[in-house]
């Protein structure tokens, strides 16, 4: 045990002596949370919007003026018919288009209600949501003004929101679970594989293997510090996102931390597996980045919804572990689900952990025979 602790201490010395490692472990997560968070929180100002006014009456004129005088939008042109909508969006400047139905004013006074459409460019979900929210608020305000003048009847303009390109706006608030998923697999798998291959490259691994330390102790000794640091890290990310963005954890914190630990273990064993197949640190970094980072970002449902992907990618996303963890962590943090809803994903991650450990042990034994 003393041997083991001495070895773990050495591993911590490596980490704390190399400021780059510390930056990767603590700097990148914080930066990512803040950058993503900043993007989400951006207030809209001078967003380009266009108007398709099929009615051209006094009411639509008043409403249009009110919208543009709010300071959030700039007029990006007036459209003549529905066919212009797609073309206008594709030019890229216009973030949303307001459509007033024909006979808007007379409908409003005769039937008591008129409808307008707010069509937003869903390819930028955050901007789109903000624009629709702002506009809806402005229209509601306008409704109240109208009803102050009208004596008897209730007049109502009904804004109807449509999202182009990405109707469900999946990525809202997804960034914290996504960053956690990404950071954990990055730190655990990348760092362990690099630190183990480093010992191989410098020849120290041979000396360790010849020493009375058992191979299992060596591996555990290399992995323990990263397990602890990752755990501290996830706690910090959660606290940071709670303080800065007020993102609550709706489900059980204990369950969340437990699932995270399992995921950390899975990532660590994946890192060990990578280290058994790579000879140099560069190779390990290459495999980790290409094999883990990119799929995690692209295929785990972190940024792009899996449902919208071609079948092939959907299958790939079923193979990579982060997709399962993202489902779990999203469920617990945002929806507040319990273990009864995520046990299947938990089992998958558990199975993958065992698989990676099994494969590593087998590779290891072949080398030692």
């Amino acid at each position: 045990m003393k041997r083991f602790l001495g070895f773990v201490k050495k591993e911590f010395l490596h980490i704390f002596r190399d400021y780059r490692t510390l930056i990767i472990i603590f700097g990148i997560p914080a930066a990512q949370i803040l950058i993503f968070g900043f993007v989400v929180r951006t207030d809209i100002k001078d967003a380009g919007v266009a108007v398709l006014d099929l009615s051209h009456d006094e009411i639509t004129q008043r409403l249009t003026n009110k919208i543009f005088s709010s300071g959030f939008f700039v007029n990006d042109g007036n459209l003549l018919n529905y066919n212009d909508i797609d073309v206008t969006f594709k030019k890229g400047n216009t973030k949303a288009i307001f459509v007033f139905e024909e006979n808007f004013g007379s409908n409003l006074y005769r039937k008591g209600r008129a409808s307008m459409s707010i069509i937003a460019d869903g390819s930028e979900p955050n901007v789109a949501t903000l624009i629709t929210n702002y506009t809806t608020a402005i229209v509601n305000d306008f409704n109240r003004e109208l009803n102050k003048d009208a004596v008897n009847s209730v007049l109502l303009i009904q804004p109807e929101v449509k999202m182009f390109y990405n109707p469900e706006l999946k990525s809202h608030f997804m960034f914290v679970p996504g960053v956690i998923t990404l950071i954990l697999i990055l730190i655990c798998a990348l760092m362990t594989s690099v630190t183990i291959t480093r010992e191989k490259e410098f020849g120290t691994m041979e000396v360790l293997l010849v020493s009375p330390l058992k191979p299992l102790q060596i591996i555990l000794g290399k992995v323990t510090p990263y397990f602890l640091l990752s755990f501290i890290n996830i706690t910090l990310i959660l606290i940071l996102s709670w303080i800065v963005f007020g993102l609550p954890i709706k489900g059980s914190v204990v369950l969340l931390l437990f699932e995270s630990m399992l995921y950390i273990l899975m990532s660590l064993s994946l890192g060990i597996l990578i280290s058994t197949i790579s000879k140099t640190m560069q190779q390990a970094i290459f495999i980790s980045f290409l094999g883990l980072m990119l799929p995690t970002i692209i295929l785990s449902g972190f940024i792009f919804p899996i449902e919208n992907m071609p079948k092939v990618y959907e299958i790939v996303s079923k193979i990579i572990p982060p997709s399962y963890f993202i489902t779990i962590i999203k469920g617990i943090m945002i929806k507040g689900t319990g273990i009864t809803f995520v046990w299947k994903e938990t089992l998958v991650i558990l199975f993958m952990t065992l698989l990676f450990i099994g494969l590593s042990v087998r590779k290891f034994k072949i080398r030692l025979q």
Partner: protein
């Protein structure tokens, strides 16, 4: 000789698939002896050392090291040996002191004893000023000496040195061999491989391997007499015939153009 035997190898065979790396090795090494283990790259030296140091198991035959069987008791062997390999084996980002403490603790030394030992060692090596410097600040010669010191820190019965003087200047090599002599005088057996044939002359006995077999084993003087040679280098060139005729001279320390030994080292 009436000395105690610390390594005894009998009919040792190691195969990797159809390739026989060690073909029926038989030899003994005595306590306190400096045993030179020579051979061209690819001759099977590293494989044999890996078996003797408990990293690899023999396919057949028996190897006993410090009284323990290499096939069944590798863990016990590991506690009784020291090891220094051709690749550099200290942690470059740790200080001299941290490196010594790490290996001391790994080999089960108690801290107070270890601290006292560190003081002695640093004094002896005139290393005091380097105690808290990180290894990468040290010149190669000093690192090599330190690596050797660490390999015998726990006073093992045998120390394996796998090409310990590669890339070191002649003066440091000289000093390094003085350390080897001192170690042997403490009754620690030194098992050393080298490509420098002048170093082979310093050994008590020398074995020469070729294509998995030991083709010669005796004192340097006796070998020179048998092969009617001026130096061990000449003996080596005469008997360790390389597999390809166009190889550059072996024994100059240059590895250029030589077929690499199957790389079975340091993998986990």
């Amino acid at each position: 000789m009436t000395r105690n035997t610390v390594i005894s190898v009998k009919d040792l065979v190691k195969r990797f698939g159809s390739f026989t790396a060690n073909d029926n090795l038989n030899f003994e090494v005595y306590e306190g002896e400096i045993f030179g283990f020579l051979g061209a790259n690819g001759a099977g030296k590293t494989t044999a050392i890996r078996i003797l140091s408990g990293l690899s198991r023999p396919t057949s035959g028996k190897a006993t090291v410090a009284g323990f069987d290499a096939g069944t008791q590798p863990e016990k062997i590991k506690k009784n040996i020291g090891y220094m390999c051709q690749k550099f084996s200290l942690y470059e980002d740790l200080t001299v002191r941290e490196n010594i403490i790490l290996y001391g603790v790994i080999y089960g030394m108690k801290l107070p004893a270890l601290k006292q030992r560190i003081r002695q060692l640093l004094e002896k090596l005139k290393f005091e000023e380097y105690e808290n410097r990180i290894i990468s600040d040290l010149p190669l010669g000093l690192r090599q000496k330190l690596a050797f010191t660490i390999a015998v820190l726990h006073e093992p019965r045998i120390v394996f040195l796998d090409e310990p003087t590669g890339g070191v200047d002649p003066i440091t090599r000289r000093q390094f061999w003085e350390m080897i002599y001192e170690t042997a005088a403490m009754n620690i057996t030194v098992f050393v491989t080298t490509h420098y044939m002048d170093e082979a002359e310093y050994c008590d006995r020398v074995s020469i391997m070729s294509e998995g077999k030991i083709v010669a084993l005796d004192t340097p003087a006796e070998l020179k007499r048998q092969y009617n040679a001026e130096s061990v280098e000449e003996v080596f060139v005469k008997i360790a015939r390389p597999p390809t005729p166009s190889r550059p001279a072996v024994g100059t320390g240059s590895k250029g153009g030589l077929k690499p030994e199957p790389d079975t080292t340091g993998k986990i």
